[in-house]
């Protein structure tokens, strides 16, 4: 029985097709979910892809979070549905308060697209269990508003609880606090990250294949669930 993973499409989503491709390559079935339709179509997990939903107007993800589909995502996530937010998806998860903190303008004020060195900090999430903590991987980052911020208490709590999932190595491309590239909720079913694993599943068109683990992880998590 093939796992079905939803990929939400907002007006302005860009990397939904690449997320769908990555899902297909891992052996699951991608299901397209429209922002205006509250139905999650019985999917086993949901991905909020990268892009410029609503043109990044007001704030990145600020308008998307009020979409009908997001109400369903929030409810389902609180009941344990695995959710992955990539880049703009991460921004939407923070705006929805499924994850703490916020993403702000890159410290350099420039959009940066780069193959980024990262370290997996936690493999205790539905999306990273196929990695080992400490794994060093390379995945593209491409964003202008990727600087993760939160107050000190929140940052301390994320670190202490092992909820930092991914950390920048070498150069921090956007001035994110504590070099944080991705985080999880307390339960580990909701993960948000700025880098794009869907652009690292095929060496021919991506930065390599280091991102495939995110997609194989969820399949394993669903089988074991």
């Amino acid at each position: 029985m093939t796992s079905r993973i939803g990929v939400i499409r907002f007006p302005g989503s860009l990397d939904d097709r690449d997320a769908a491709r990555a899902i297909r390559l891992s052996g699951a079935e991608p299901v397209s979910l429209w922002h205006g339709d509250p139905s999650l179509r019985d999917v086993d997990a949901v991905i909020l892809p990268g892009g410029f939903s609503y043109g990044d107007y007001l704030r990145c993800g600020a308008i998307s979070r009020f979409s009908p589909v997001m109400e369903s995502v929030v409810t389902a996530a609180e009941s344990g549905l695995p959710v992955l937010g990539i880049c703009n998806g991460f921004q939407i998860l923070c705006e929805s308060h499924l994850l703490p903190g916020a993403l702000t303008r890159n410290g350099s004020l420039h959009f940066v697209c780069r193959d980024q060195a990262l370290r997996i900090e936690s493999n205790r999430t539905s999306w990273t269990l196929d990695y080992s903590a400490g794994d060093e991987i390379t995945i593209p980052v491409k964003n202008g508003e990727g600087c993760f911020v939160a107050d000190e208490a929140t940052l301390d709590e994320l670190e202490a609880a092992g909820r930092v999932v991914l950390r920048y190595l070498g150069t921090n491309p956007n001035a994110s606090r504590r070099d944080i590239a991705g985080i999880a909720n307390a339960r580990g079913n909701v993960v948000g990250l700025m880098p794009h694993p869907e652009h690292a599943v095929d060496a021919l068109t991506g930065s390599g294949t280091d991102g495939a683990g995110f997609f194989t992880s969820i399949l394993k998590a669903l089988v074991d669930a």
Binding site: L58, R59, A62, I63, F66, C94, E95, P100, G101, A102, T104, R105, N106, G107, S108, L109, C147, V149, A150, D151, A175
Partner: protein, 81 residues
């Protein structure tokens, strides 16, 4: 018809690279008495109906729900005459 103005600013502890860039540019233009710059957003919202106290409350709700991200921003509301 009333107009409500909502000003949204980053909280003081949040990194404001745009404000910093503006500060640096002002200095390069000779305005070296500028010690700090913070950049924010201003929303001008026109509301139908007669001006009532309720409109300030509604503007506050708009600000808290959508216009400002309370994790990193704070806001102030002003009803214009």
């Amino acid at each position: 018809m009333a107009r409500v103005v909502v000003d949204v600013m980053l909280k003081p502890e949040i990194l404001d690279p745009q404000g910093q860039a503006v500060h640096d540019a002002l200095h390069r233009l000779g305005f070296d008495d500028v010690t700090a710059v913070r950049q924010g957003k201003r929303f001008e919202i026109d509301l139908a109906g007669p001006d009532t106290e309720g409109q300030r409350d509604r503007a506050e709700e708009m600000a808290a729900t959508l216009l400002a991200n309370l994790v990193i921003e704070e806001y102030s509301v002003r009803v214009e005459g």
